[in-house]
């Protein structure tokens, strides 16, 4: 730990960081723009200037950039000296020459880093009298707005987009005071992490259109710490609301999970909460097949009737519902009648994940993954299944450049220099998947294989690593491919195997475990990361992975209670036949879907935004997601609805406060008593009675002018604020804001730091853990040693369901903006198959399933394993799920659809 002198004071700093980081970590404010904690320094904006002195005699010193200056023992700096202060003032003055005076109408206003820095340096009057540079704005797709005139040319956007997230369609154009950041032409930003631009841009150039359409200032938002339900990674988010509508989702820094970045499914996928498919109240299907809206009381009493006349009641839980909700359902129907709602295949796959989590194999965090120097992706569609993981894997491939930089004595934060040194040199990344993916471009080896060949490859690698035959199929000789993968993995300091459920293939996951086990015997640093299917798959698998969905459905129940789960995509073509047999189907869910349409009674369930719940991610980390606002009308947390059913008439809820109902805290305690292995979920967040100096933690900022003004156009009498009896958080602005633990913090803000950049005020050091400790609790202590799997029956299924970040998650697919980016039904064929069918790119084909006819556009893909056929796993193709192969026929009357993957956009969205 070197000691430096800053304005006469000794300061002990972390070795290897730059001065800006060191100062910010020490709580000393120094303004900056182009530096970003995750992206390092380039020295473009010159805002972080300080004066450095050569020695004690040196009284003049020279200006240096904090972000470009290493901290070395004894180095002497001044932040306060007049020269430095004047310089920083000049930077702002010059940046402001061309910056428009549009703060009042700018979406960034109130959480603008440029505003904050301007105030920080004290620049307040304008001397420039000339004209301002102006630019044309571009249409960048449904998510992101573009207002180039506000640009201060810090280069963060293009560094983030190209260098960090690997995008290609956003660049810096032109030069001098005409530099333009955008695309070569109007069009949707292609990268699935583009949304982070909104937070990376220090001012209002890239803005969140899903917020803009019903804009609210940050200080008028009511927010809560939430957990993204888009996939099983459990990224931490802030979800914000006003007038009962979700306004936006922002990144909530978590040192070990998502860091500073989200994927676009997570950021822009919450719009379903206010989608027009939302179920607002209970309904009972009448004889005509339509739903009569009824109040909750009537619905519950009808269900009570059903229960009393049913001999066998089955509860189907959900891997996308909270542990609390699943537990309440299991309580209602009894454990023998409960299943967690996964398909049998998915349940088997999650069994493997549980085995791995409880074994002594290391499951790294997303942050850890960036430190692995050789990664094998075995059959997992990371980009579309666990998107944020793809971003971490991409960073991991830069470990080679870190090594080179070390050898050349270039600091890792010296971002441009490290990239210039390493050029295209990357650490090993081997991708073995059926279909091309964005990670391919950073891979050292790409193998396009059908699922059965992927598992074979995995077993071969494992075998070759351990030289013991575990595979029952005899792959006598090691292929060159296998050998080179084995070499890459054995030569690595830290090898990582990534696999998961995306191909729904147990052999692939078993092979992945075996590879990890084989590596681990010689290298304890070996990691294994298995992607789970949905946001709470791991949680419900721990809760109860016994009950079989098909088994329970086959047991001919009289009544089925279906919790937050659409069976159509799970059961595929068998959906209609299996569901139509159910005499009494009660569905509790958020959105209208095939299952709610087949139900006899629907109850309106609160979403993640309206009810607190606990979710367990891939790593086995239990995290609490807090309710953002009180749901409207009869909409209730599923666990309350479940309890209400159990209680019958007594349970009908009046404003959620029926004393008979268990609170979420009580449910959790009951749950933990029954399942001690889940004990940790209690500590995922402070309990409801937690107080800081007698106060709860508030969901609104203390300057929320909104609360009192919100309804003033109707009545100046402020209505009573809703009470949150479930958690240690308070609705509105009453309560504590800054000293709260991370799991109760509703937004990041610190005096003088109104933007998301204030996060460093809550970090132990820049990019470090939260000062109050990282949130979430790892539930499963890894200890058991695992014996390698033997390969199961090799399945020869050639029809592959391809996941899509936009479309494969059933909830986010219903968000207005995101739904525009869902691909149209397609079938991807090898040229061999295409020729046999006599079709080419853009032609149409159809296939018959029990679910009816399905029409799809053809994509001919020369790299596809010849006998594979690939369709998108989206709502429109649900009937294909679970099928092993299909018959296609060419459609003669078909309007060519050359690129079903590229969105057909709603043209009115485009500004001309």
């Amino acid at each position: 730990m070197p000691t430096i002198k800053v304005d006469g004071q000794d300061l002990e700093v972390k070795a290897g960081v730059n001065l800006l980081e060191a100062l910010l970590s020490a709580g000393i404010d120094l303004p900056y723009f182009c530096w970003h904690p995750a992206m390092g320094s380039v020295g473009a904006c010159r805002q972080c200037a300080v004066v450095q002195y050569a020695n004690d005699e040196d009284t003049r010193g020279r200006i240096v950039m904090g972000c470009m200056t290493p901290v070395t023992e004894g180095a002497m700096f001044s932040v306060q000296t007049e020269n430095a202060v004047m310089f920083r003032d000049s930077v702002i003055e010059n940046l402001m020459l061309n910056h428009p005076h549009d703060c009042p109408v700018c979406e960034e206003g109130g959480e603008c880093h440029l505003q904050d820095m301007t105030v920080m340096v004290g620049h307040s009057s304008r001397r420039y009298e000339g004209k301002k540079t102006t630019f044309n704005n571009q249409y960048l797709g449904p998510f992101i707005g573009h207002e180039m005139n506000r640009c201060i040319t810090c280069y963060r956007c293009v560094r983030y987009y190209q260098d960090y997230s690997g995008g290609h369609d956003l660049s810096a154009f032109a030069s001098r005071d005409r530099v333009f950041f955008g695309r070569s032409d109007d069009g949707v930003l292609e990268n699935e992490f583009a949304g982070n631009l909104v937070e990376v841009c220090p001012t209002g150039v890239f803005t969140d259109k899903t917020l803009s359409k019903h804009y609210t200032r940050k200080w008028d938002l009511q927010s809560a710490p939430t957990v993204c339900t888009g996939c099983a990674l459990g990224c931490n988010t802030y979800t914000s609301e006003r007038y009962g509508q979700i306004r936006r989702v922002h990144n909530r820094y978590h040192h070990e999970v998502n860091g500073y970045f989200l994927c676009d499914r997570g950021r822009f996928g919450a719009g379903y909460v206010s989608s027009n498919r939302r179920i607002p109240q209970s309904g009972i299907r009448n004889a005509g097949g339509l739903y009569d809206p009824v109040n909750l009381e009537a619905a519950i009493s009808k269900i009570t009737e059903m229960i009393s006349s049913s001999a066998k009641i089955v509860g189907i839980g959900s891997p996308r519902a909270s542990l609390e909700a699943n537990h309440a359902l299991r309580d209602l129907v009894g454990s023998e009648n409960y299943c967690n709602g996964m398909t049998d295949t998915d349940r088997e796959l999650h069994g493997i994940i549980l085995d791995a989590l409880s074994s002594d194999l290391v499951t790294p965090t997303l942050a850890d993954i960036e430190d692995y120097d050789a990664i094998l992706v075995l059959g997992e569609d990371v980009t579309n299944h666990a998107p944020r993981l793809a971003l971490s894997i991409r960073q991991a491939t830069r470990n080679r450049s870190a090594e080179m930089a070390d050898a050349t004595q270039i600091a890792l934060w010296h971002d441009a220099a490290v990239r210039e040194l390493a050029q295209h040199d990357r650490s090993s990344l081997i991708v073995a998947t059926p279909v091309e993916d964005r990670l391919d471009e950073v891979a050292s080896q790409v193998l396009r294989l059908k699922p059965s060949d992927i598992s074979q490859l995995g077993f071969d690698i494992a075998e070759s690593l351990s030289n013991s035959s575990l595979s029952d199929s005899n792959s006598s000789e090691t292929s060159a491919e296998t050998a080179s993968i084995v070499t890459a993995l054995t030569n690595a300091k830290r090898p990582l195997i990534v696999s998961g459920t995306s191909l729904q293939n147990a052999n692939i996951m078993k092979a992945a475990v075996n590879v990890a086990l084989a590596l681990k015997t010689n290298n304890p640093e070996t990691g294994l990361f298995l992607c789970a299917s949905e946001c709470n798959s791991v949680g419900v698998a721990i809760l109860d992975n016994q009950g079989s969905l098909t088994g329970l459905l086959a047991s001919e129940p009289d009544m089925v209670v279906l919790l937050e789960n659409d069976l159509a995509p799970r059961l595929g073509q068998g959906f209609e036949s299996q569901v139509s047999k159910i005499a009494n189907l009660v569905v509790i869910d958020h959105l209208d879907n095939a299952s709610t349409s087949a139900s006899h009674i629907v109850l309106p369930a609160a979403t993640f935004a309206e009810a607190e719940g606990t979710y367990v991610n891939n790593e086995g980390r239990a995290q609490r997601s807090m309710a953002v606002y009180k749901p409207k009308g009869d909409i209730q947390a599923s666990y309350h609805l479940m309890d209400a059913i159990q209680l019958g008439a007594k349970g009908v809820i009046n404003d959620g406060a029926s004393t008979e109902l268990r609170s979420s805290t009580e449910i959790r305690h009951d749950l933990v008593n029954q399942h001690p292995v889940l004990r940790g979920i209690i500590d995922a967040a402070p309990e409801a009675d937690f107080r800081i100096e007698g106060s709860k933690s508030s969901r609104m900022t203390h300057r929320a002018s909104g609360r009192t003004a919100m309804l003033a156009n109707i009545s100046v009498h402020e209505p009573k604020q809703p009470v949150d009896s479930e958690s240690a958080m308070a609705f509105t602005m009453e309560g504590v804001q800054q000293q709260t633990p991370a799991s109760l913090r509703a937004y990041t803000w610190s005096p003088g730091w109104n933007s998301n950049q204030s996060i460093h005020k809550f970090q132990s050091e820049i990019g470090g853990s939260d000062t109050g400790g990282d949130t979430g609790v790892i539930l499963i202590a890894p200890n058991e040693s695992l014996t390698p799997y033997t390969i199961g029956q090799i399945d020869r299924g050639t029809l592959v369901a391809k996941l899509h970040i936009f479309g494969s998650d059933e909830l986010s697919a219903n968000s207005e903006e995101l739904s525009q980016l869902i691909p149209r039904p397609y079938i991807r064929l090898s040229s061999l198959n295409a020729n046999a069918l006599g079709v080419s790119n853009g032609d149409g084909v159809s296939c018959q399933t029990q679910g009816g006819e399905l029409q799809m556009a053809v994509i001919v893909d020369d790299n596809l394993p010849v006998d594979c056929m690939v369709y998108p796993r989206i709502p429109a193709t649900a009937q294909l799920n679970g099928i092993e192969s299909i018959e296609l026929s060419k459609i003669t009357e078909w309007v060519s659809d050359l690129n079903p993957l590229s969105p057909k956009l709603i043209t009115t969205d485009r500004t001309s």
Partner: protein
């Protein structure tokens, strides 16, 4: 996008262009390092780099249009809009200015009836300002096409552009150095 589509787009370049570009690539460590060479090769063949040329070059080099255009628009001698048969690069740097260059550039502008960044109606000339041509001992100087003209005077300009048409409609092209 499939290979077939890819190839057809690259085919928008001529064989000669492609082989010249490949020759540059052959002594570089990766294809995209030839970006500037490739833009210049195509410009030499076609006078300028159209959007479709740019997109073909990008495909050939394995980069995106945005990435390539970000490079193209940085440099003042890559023309992203059509130029006349000959580009006049008029030195507006300091020695030429001292030697009366401003008057002469005004003269050229009025004679050809164009401003900086514009092309004559007959498409013969495009006028652009340029940084010091390294001919200061013979200032004022300019390039017309590949030829250097120096010690410019009113008379020499008159005779150089004696064929100038006096049509009045102009064709602005923009361009990185055309801000005057």
């Amino acid at each position: 996008m499939s290979e077939a589509v890819n190839n057809s787009l690259i085919n928008a370049l001529s064989d000669a262009e492609i082989s010249e570009i490949e020759a540059e690539i052959s002594h570089l460590p990766d294809r995209r390092s030839a970006a500037i060479d490739a833009l210049k090769i195509v410009q030499r063949h076609r006078g300028w780099v159209s959007d479709s040329s740019l997109s073909s070059i990008a495909k050939l080099l394995g980069m995106s249009e945005a990435e390539l255009d970000g490079i193209a628009t940085f440099y003042n001698l890559i023309y992203r809009k059509p130029v006349g048969d000959k580009v006049i690069l008029y030195c507006d740097s300091v020695t030429c200015w001292i030697m009366g260059g401003d008057n002469l550039s005004r003269k050229i502008k009025s004679k050809l009836n164009i401003e900086y960044g514009e092309t004559t109606a007959d498409n013969k000339y495009t006028l652009l300002p340029v940084t010091c041509l390294g001919d200061c001992d013979h200032a004022p100087a300019m390039m017309v096409g590949d030829e250097l003209h120096h010690d410019l005077t009113e008379q020499s300009i008159d005779s150089l552009f004696s064929d100038a048409s006096d049509d009045t409609s102009n064709n602005p092209i923009g361009g990185e150095t055309s801000n005057d």
